[in-house]
Structure formats: C-alpha cells, structure tokens
C-alpha cells in the first residue's frame, strides 16, 4: 500500500506535485524555524560549557583548593571586558610551563604553541592554570590592546599578554576577556566589589549565574511562544491535501480496503514528504547558521556551531515532525473509516462543541496556578512555569478560535450580501478548517499582546550616568594629582550618594575616560574603576537583549504566521475547487468569490485577534502592568504587529488569488 500511495503521488501530475511541493515548503520553513529555536538553547548550553568555569562552584570543605577565582566586568572603549582573576592558593604557585600562542605586538615570553582545551585543573581554552603575572587574552582583546594607547588599557594589567585564549574558552568569537594570574595574597582577594572570590577544586564544576539562567528561561519562553505557530504551520501544511486525500481514501474504503490499508496509504505520502521536508529544514538552518550566529544575545553573537542543534536533538526533532504530520494525516481518517460515504458526499457539517470552553477554563486555572508559582519558584524553574502558562493560554486561544469562527459564521450568514452569505455558511460548515488559516496570525497577535507591555518596560528603562568614574578608595587630591600629571582635566569630588568612601571623577573630555580610569586604578588596588552605567552594564545588556528578543520573536512568529496563512488559504482554495468552478460557471463573478474569501478571513480574524490580544496581555500580567501596552513603545509594537498582521493576511489571501482564478478559469471546464 505504501508503494501505491507514492505511486498515486508520482502519477498525480503537476498539480499533485505542486501541492506536495507546497506541503514540503511549509514543513521545511517550520522545521528550519524549529531548528533555530532549538539552536538557541543549544547555543546557551555550549556557551555555558565553555565559560561556566568563570563562575565556578566553591570547593567543598576539606577539598584541596587549586585556585581562587574572581570574575568581574571592566570596560574600555565603551565595551565590556570580562576580567577573571585567578589567584594561586599558596605562596608557591607554579610558574609558566607551556606558553600559549604569541600575541602580535606583545612582549610576552616564549614561542607560540597550540592551546588545548582545559581539563579539570586548567580552565577551558587555556593550556594550564595561569601562573602569577600571566595574562591570557581573547583574540578580540589582543586586537583592542594593540589599538588603544597603553595608558588607556594595557597599563591596567600586570604585564603584556602571555597568550591567546582558545575558542574553547570564549563565550562568542568577539568576546573581550582577560584571565590574569595573581600571586597569593593579591589585593584582588579583598578588594570591595559586587563579585565574590570563589575557592575552586576543579574548573569542571560550575554554577550558572542568575543572569545566564535568566537568559535560558527567557529563551525557553521564546521557544514556547514560537512553538505553537510552528506546530500550526506544520498542521496547515500536512492538511493541505486533506480533502483530496479524504476523497481518495473514501473511494479506497468503498472498494473494500481495510482500515490498516487506508491508514498506510494516508500516512505514507504525508510522512515521506514531511520527513524529507523536515530534514531539508534542518539542513537549511545549518546552512544559514552563520547568519543566525550574528544575532547578538547576552553581549555578543555566537559561534556558528553553537546555534546548530546537536545531531541527536535534530534527529529527534525530525522524527517528531514526521510523527506530527502522520498524526495530522491519521486525524482525518476516522471519518473515512466510520463513514466513507459521509466523506464522499459531505453529509454533515463539521461542528465544534461548546465543551471547548472547558479547555479555556482549564487554561485560566493553569494561569492562576502558574502566576502563584512564579512568586515562589527558583529562577531555574521560572521559565518552565512561564512556558507552561504560555502554552496553556495559547491552547485556549486555539480552542476558542473555531467557536468564534462558528459564531461569526452565523452572523455573516444572516447578512444581506452574497459574499457574506457564502463566507458565513462556509465558516459554519467547518469552523476548525476555517480557523486554520487564521491560527497563525491569531497566535502572532497573542505574542504581540504578551510582548508589547514587556517591550514598554524594556524601551522605557532610563539610562544611568555613563561619564562619571567612581574610584573606591583615595582622596580627591590624590586623584587630581594623578590626572594633572597626565594632562587630563576633570571634575573631581568626594564620592557622593550611597558611597561612603572614594572619589567621583568626571573627565572634561569623555574621550579621556579610559585613560583616566587606567591612571586612577592604583588608588584602589584590586578594584575596577567604573561609571554607574558600566556597573549596571549587565542590566543594560539584558534590556538590549529583551528588545532584540521581542523583535526576533515577533518577526519569527509573523514569518510562520504568514507562511501558515498562505498555505492554509491555498489549501482551502484547492479543497473547494470543484464548488468554486461550478459557481463561476453558473455566472458568479470571481469578484464575489474573492470578496467571500476575504470576509471569511477578515471577520473571524478581527474577533479572534481581540481575544488573542486579551489573552496575551493576561499572560504578561505577572511581569508588568497590562497598561504598559498604552505606553508609546507598547503602542508602537502593537500597532506594527496589527499592521503586519493585516498585511500578512491580505498578502496570503492575494497569494492564492491567482490559484483561484486559475482553478476557475474557463478552459478548466473540460475537466468538469
């Protein structure tokens, strides 16, 4: 029967191949986006595997300590530099044994040698534990050291770079990072600051910083946000040939084919196409991964390999896509098996039941529980809880959608005009099928409703002072003397506000900021000299990422939605081609058919969109006031989304217009 199914496809001619191509294209796009989403999670894991040692787990009591580690963020040329100080545990730390690759322009010791990845006693990307006085830098920082004058950056360090940190120790290719070996008793151990000194027994045991975990959880929520539209696109694609397949299977059933036989016929075609398309989608993602890797998150882009999901995950996802497509194909079989005549003759309307409202109630219960849970769970679980809430409310929107379609269909069916009558009756005839082209855009509006108030928060954040340096020790006189010697003019005052000691320095020329901070560093050994904005730089990066994340998720969601809408709209035309031809033949102007299709789409979308927007705002309410959507940035996001949504629907409808005209044109009448 499998060969029969594929033979039917092969012999189906250009129209069958075109349809199969549309199915394949839809599944491939959905799979590629799924791969991107999975790749983002893989990327975060990969980053953590390479750089987790910078935030190591403390050695257990009694365990031998190999080093003490302190990680902070310094700044130069307006860019953050991750500075990891590695302090030897005792008075006799081992000296340099194997120097790393030479840094061009540096005067460090020894010739270049390849850098192996770190083991448990050496950090990843370094050949060994840095010895006191050693300075290991990332390639990007080595370039910056060459670019800036020594008194703007290099003078902050104990000496020239010893070697380069390998890719195995970098968060992303252009990361600015320095690992400095310090002797025992170095002031860095006791210097004040936000970060803590951690005694480590191994670099293999790490902790995940709260902000990194936050990124993971946000990514999980983002994946959940795009998961439903992707599933919708898969479903829409798999059902593209539903009617043709249903009629063919009904014929086979009438001829006496067993349930098993028609199942195989139904499944084989869809599964083969969907699986091949899923593989294509994942290969496509691998192909464009260098471009995806340019999208920055948490301070920088990615290594291309990071944003490719692992082989195991990819295989699992391809199998899942194949199974989903199969399930979609099998879903329509029940009616064929129970009543093949019903399928062949369309005896009854495919109604929707009010029991769906129970699903909506259940989703609201999940939301209430999730909302309460978010106040008590750890950050590690917050993303999963939020993803569950998002999926539940997504589900509610999908469940209530066909009911709305049925209601709108009833209203349209009572209207005076013929397009409204045709649209209304078609909506009532099969509300679930009629909702399918709208599902993508409806869910995109949900996502917009969820993100609009959050984006208002992200865009509305105030920028902190980025020009006044705070030195944690010393007096204004000391600072003024140091700066005067270097010819740097500055406003120098005793530390103000919450700070109890130190000096605030505001260079007259902002371009002198790096020189000033480098000069002032010796006043407070072991500390970093920073502005307020730099001290809270992580927050700024997070806000930047939130803004970018909002845009990426919205663009991805609308891409999926537009593809799904177009695919489903084409499917509806293909499924109803016989009726459309006869209507045309009996004198119905194509304009009337197009108006009917437009109303069939626009009217229920309006109502479903409003419901989805309300659910989206509800979903965001644990994080921010829903009124945030009324802030200018929230309104911009929402307005853009609604415009894009309308444009997507119009474009999708317009895209299938040539198909409608082609199927109903006069020379097609021979095939009636």
């Amino acid at each position: 029967m499998t060969s029969l199914s594929l033979r039917l496809l092969r012999l189906g001619g250009p129209r069958a191949w075109t349809t199969a191509g549309l199915v394949g294209a839809g599944v491939a796009v959905a799979s590629a986006l799924l791969a991107v989403a999975l790749g983002a999670l893989h990327g975060l894991d990969s980053r953590e595997a390479r750089t987790g040692w910078r935030t190591p787990a403390a050695a257990a009591p009694g365990e031998p300590v190999i080093a003490q580690v302190r990680t902070r963020v310094d700044h130069a040329a307006g860019k953050p530099i991750t500075q990891v100080d590695v302090v030897a545990p005792g008075p006799a730390a081992p000296g340099p044994a194997t120097p790393g690759p030479a840094v061009p322009g540096a005067t460090g010791p020894g010739p270049a040698t390849p850098v192996p990845s770190g083991g448990t006693t050496a950090p990843p990307g370094l050949p060994r534990l840095p010895a006191p006085g050693e300075l290991w830098v990332s390639p990007a920082l080595a370039a910056l050291l060459r670019e800036l004058a020594p008194d703007a950056l290099a003078n902050r360090y104990p000496g020239p770079p010893t070697g380069l940190i390998g890719d195995a120790g970098l968060r992303f290719p252009d990361e600015l990072v320095v690992v400095i070996g310090r002797p025992a008793g170095d002031p860095v151990l006791t210097a004040p600051g936000d970060s803590r000194v951690v005694p480590v027994a191994s670099f293999a045991r790490t902790t995940v910083p709260a902000e990194d975990e936050g990124y993971r959880q946000l990514t999980i929520v983002a994946v959940a946000l795009v998961a439903f539209p992707i599933a919708g696109l898969l479903g829409a694609s798999a059902r593209l040939t539903a009617t043709r397949r249903g009629e063919r299977l009904a014929t086979l059933r009438l001829l006496g084919a067993s349930t098993r036989q028609i199942t195989v016929v139904a499944v084989a075609e869809t599964t083969v196409i969907a699986t091949a398309a899923a593989i294509t989608g994942f290969l496509l993602e691998a192909l464009v991964s260098p471009l995806v890797a340019r999208i920055p998150l948490a301070g920088g882009g990615w290594f291309a390999a990071d944003v490719r999901p692992s082989v195991l995950v990819s295989v699992g996802a391809v199998v899942a896509v194949g199974l989903l497509a199969t399930a979609s194909a099998v879903g329509g079989l029940r009616r064929v098996v129970v009543s093949p005549l019903g399928v062949a003759r369309r005896q009854q309307a495919r109604g929707v039941r009010l029991v769906r409202l129970l699903g909506v109630v259940a989703a609201l219960v999940v939301f209430a529980i999730g909302n309460s849970a978010l106040r008590v769970v750890d950050v590690e679980a917050a993303g999963l809880v939020m993803a569950a809430v998002v999926l539940a409310l997504f589900g509610a929107v999908v469940l209530v959608g066909p009911l709305v379609v049925r209601g709108v269909g009833g209203w349209l069916g009572r209207r005076e005009s013929v397009p409204a009558l045709l649209a209304g009756r078609r909506l009532q005839d099969d509300p679930r099928a009629a909702f399918r082209p709208l599902a993508g855009v409806t869910l995109a509006i949900f996502v917009a409703g969820f993100l609009a108030p959050l984006s208002a928060t992200a865009w509305g954040a105030t920028q902190r002072d980025d020009h006044t340096l705070h030195v944690r020790a010393g007096t204004p006189d000391q600072a003024t003397t140091l700066l005067a010697r270097a010819g740097i003019g500055a406003d120098v005052r005793p530390a103000a506000g919450e700070r109890s000691s130190g000096v605030d320095v505001r260079p007259v020329d902002p371009a002198e900021l790096d020189r000033a901070r480098t000069l002032l560093a010796p006043l407070a050994p072991g500390t970093l000299v920073q502005t307020d904005a730099e001290a809270s730089g992580q927050n700024a990066v997070l806000l930047d990422d939130l803004r970018r994340g909002v845009l990426v998720v919205l663009v991805a969601t609308f891409l999926v939605a537009a593809t799904a809408t177009g695919t489903a709209a084409a499917a509806r035309v293909l499924d109803h081609r016989h009726t459309l031809r006869l209507l045309r033949l009996a004198g119905t102007p194509v304009r009337v058919l197009e108006q009917a299709r437009m109303r069939e789409t626009a009217a229920p979308l309006l109502v479903n969109g409003a419901i989805a927007l309300a659910f989206g705002l509800l979903c965001a309410s644990p994080f921010t006031a829903a009124t945030g959507v009324l802030a200018p940035s929230g309104l911009i996001v929402l307005g853009s989304v609604l415009l894009a949504g309308t444009a997507a629907v119009l474009a999708a409808t317009a895209a299938s217009r040539p198909l409608l005209r082609s199927l109903t044109r006069e020379d097609q009448e021979r095939s009636l």
Binding site: R346, A349, S417, V418, L421, L422, D429, T579, T588, V592
Partner: protein, 223 residues
Amino acid sequence: MMLRGTGVTKRFGPTTVLSDVDVEVAPGETLAVTGPSGSGKSTLLHCLAGILVPDDGEVWLGAERIDRLSDARRTDVRRQRFGFVFQFGQLLPELPAIENVALPLMLGGMRRRQALERAASWFPALGIDGFQTRRPGQLSGGQEQRVAIARALVTAPAVVFADEPTGALDSDTGAHVMDLLCGLAVRTGTALVVVTHDPEVAARCHRTVVLRDGVLRDGCVPA
C-alpha cells in the same frame, strides 16, 4: 429568445473537438444533444452557454452575439439569462437547499428575504417541499437534482443547459426528473438544451441532434 450557434468550431491544442456545428433552440423548446463519449457534446454546451469561446463561428442569444462579449459580460449573461443543471456536485455543500436555490437571485441583487420567498415557492412544484433547510449531503440524488432544477429555473432564464442531468440517477428517478425539467421548461417558455448519451432522456425532448467526432452527423432530428 432564440439561442443560435452557427459554424461553431472549437479546438483544444491540435485536436478539433467541434467542427462547424450549426444548432438553434427556440423558447419553450427542448433540444437533446447526443453522441458517444468524447464526441464534443459538453464542449458544444459550454460554447452555447458562453463558458467557452469558440475558435470559429458565432453564438447568438436573441439579437446579442455572446461569443464576442468580455469574460465579465458573459458571466453576467450566464447568471441573468441561463440556468444550469449538471450530473452531480453542483450544489454548494455548505448552504441549505433553499439558500442554494436563492443564490442566483441574490447574486442578481434581489433582497435576501424576497429571494428566499421566491426560492421557497419552487419546492412544492418539484416535490421537495419540506427539504428547504436540508444540506445537499442530506438529500438523495433525485432530490438534489430537483433542487438544482429549481435553482436553474428560479431566475426565469431564457435557456437552461443540462449536462447529463440524470447520469447519477436510477432510471425511474431519472425519468421523473426529466419529466419535471422538460415540463417546467415548456410551461415557463424556457428553452432547454440537454446533453445526454441516454436515448430515453433524448426521447423526452422535442428535437435531438447527434454529434460524432465533433461533427453534427444527423442534423436536427425531430423526436
């Protein structure tokens, strides 16, 4: 209003499906077009109905030459002056029977209520009273054809075209449907063109023309 085709010729690629066919049908007259499968019967019907444009020849409805009209205008003519009955699948499955019948009236601009009232008046005459709210899938083949006949006649067309109208029915039902179709056409002064390969159906029409390989072999034969 007389429907007349003269020298009608239609080609699909290298194949000449109709060759120089002359045919006419008067108001209240019923004409059967018969012939073996592939002889060009349906193509002739489509040319006469303004669905296809003949490559040569002319098609006139009264004083108006319809084969020269634009696509949009021919669509108007089909909706306003012609009615259609096909073998199967002609009713919109989503619409109840009465709305299927009322549809051409509404397409012509009639108010919904008035269209439904006029549509309802046809149901008793066709023996399907009580089936107004049923959907096509809930009707038998014969009932579906009667709804289709009501839909074809509800606009009081000049000509009704029927393509194998009894092809999907048993002989008794088919005979009944043909009696209704021919009887109503004559009573309302509507010309009827029936394409069929069934001699019994053809026998119920006033005249029969026979097509073979796209050529009118026997001319107009009185039944």
